[in-house]
């Protein structure tokens, strides 16, 4: 029963929606977006992402770090200065 499922899981979906609200608006560079899609979501290696996006592997590495930093800032783990 879908309606029942929605009611039963209201708290979980609400929590996820609030979580997504926190991170949805984070602006990414195209390379960071590619890292999120291809490496984190699809599981490609950095080398594959670099090959696909026509950049160097170290650039992908940097993009990954800055992506994690942006998300960590939005979630309140670190401040803009990078401290916990």
């Amino acid at each position: 029963m879908p309606e029942r499922w929605v009611i039963e899981n209201y708290h979980a979906t609400d929590k996820i929606e609030r979580f997504l609200d926190l991170i949805n608006g984070i602006k990414l560079t195209w390379l960071e977006a590619a890292v999120l899609l291809q490496n984190i979501y699809q599981g490609f290696s950095f080398a594959d992402v670099a090959d696909n996006m026509n950049v160097k592997e170290c650039q992908v590495d940097k993009a990954y770090s800055s992506l994690i930093r942006k998300v960590a800032m939005a979630l309140g783990y670190i401040t803009a200065a990078g401290k916990e």
Partner: protein, 318 residues
């Protein structure tokens, strides 16, 4: 405009056709340049420009035309064509040898390197063994082992330029190292044309993707790593999540539209018929990928654990 080397070849071809029978220089200019062209790759490896090689060949031709009438070859009835091609080959081989000499500290070092190579070959044939040790070589030449090792480095530096001409042990009798290696010919014009084509394609793709709906455009750019057109706003995490969850549909819609635009713009997109345009990366996904079912369960567990603990996600508590 053609490169000067190619322009010279064209000019020489014209001159050769119009030359008088006795005008050796003009008549065989094209042949001289052809011989120079045959040695082009080897000369490039020795750091000699093609133009310099052409110059050497032409100078050898002029020299040969001056000396031919008084030469023994003319007395024996050897035609000028054979005489001059031998002369040019000799000049070019001399040029290549001198180029390798330029990499040596002095002429005596160069001579020592040569005697080392000769001694190594002689020792190898005498002992009939595959390898000759440094110690054996040092005894043979009366040098110290350190000197042998140092000169072997010089010998390797010469290998690129000289040894290509010489027969190698282990290969067929008439075969040289140069024959056994494939020539890495540099097709400069071909590369330039390919680069221009890629640039033009890039510009076209940038324009064409700019007309797609935002999500399809993001999906296409991220999936295929296309150059990002200027003025396009950067994606947000929300965009990427939407692309990830609905990637096949977004990308295939984008591809379909691109194909139509391409057909209208250039007419060179073949009708591909019905096919599965879903973007797949079969076999390359790692088990750690979030898109994987097991990994999704892990991600949900982690999220539940973190989000249920008070203060685990600071921003969620605000």
């Amino acid at each position: 405009m053609a490169r000067p080397e190619i322009a010279l070849l064209d000019a020489a071809a014209q001159v050769s056709q119009q030359a008088e029978p006795n005008d050796h220089v003009n008549r065989f200019m094209r042949l001289a340049l052809w011989i120079a062209g045959r040695n082009r790759n080897e000369a490039e490896r020795a750091g000699i420009e093609w133009q310099d090689l052409q110059g050497t060949a032409l100078l050898a031709l002029v020299k040969a035309s001056k000396t031919y009438s008084k030469s023994k070859a003319a007395a024996k009835g050897i035609p000028f064509k054979a005489y001059m091609s031998t002369a040019i080959k000799y000049e070019i081989s001399d040029l290549l040898q001198k180029a390798s000499l330029a990499h040596m500290p002095s002429r005596s070092v160069y001579n020592d390197v040569r005697s080392l190579t000769i001694a190594a070959a002689a020792l190898q044939s005498r002992t009939e063994s595959e390898h000759v040790t440094d110690k054996q070589l040092a005894e043979e030449l009366g040098w110290t082992v350190e000197k042998v090792q140092k000169y072997q480095l010089y010998s390797r530096a010469l290998l690129n330029y000289k040894e290509l001409q010489q027969p190698l042990p282990g290969l067929e009798k008439d075969e040289t190292l140069g024959d056994s290696l494939s020539d890495d010919t540099v097709d400069v014009e071909g590369e330039a044309i390919a680069n221009v084509t890629i640039e033009a394609e890039g510009r076209w793709l940038a324009q064409a993707t700019a007309e797609l709906p935002p999500l399809a455009r993001t999906a296409i750019i991220l999936t295929f790593g296309l150059p990002v057109p200027s003025g396009v706003p950067s994606p947000t995490i929300g965009d990427v999540i939407r692309v990830a969850l609905n990637q096949s549909a977004s990308a295939s819609r984008g591809l379909r539209q691109l194909r139509e635009v391409r057909k209208n713009d250039r007419g060179d997109m073949p009708e591909l018929g019905k096919q599965d345009t879903a973007v797949r990366f079969g076999g390359r996904k790692s088990p750690q990928a979030v898109g994987d079912e097991a990994a999704q369960r892990v991600a949900i567990e982690i999220f539940e654990r973190y989000s249920s603990e008070p203060g685990a996600i600071p921003a969620l508590q605000r």
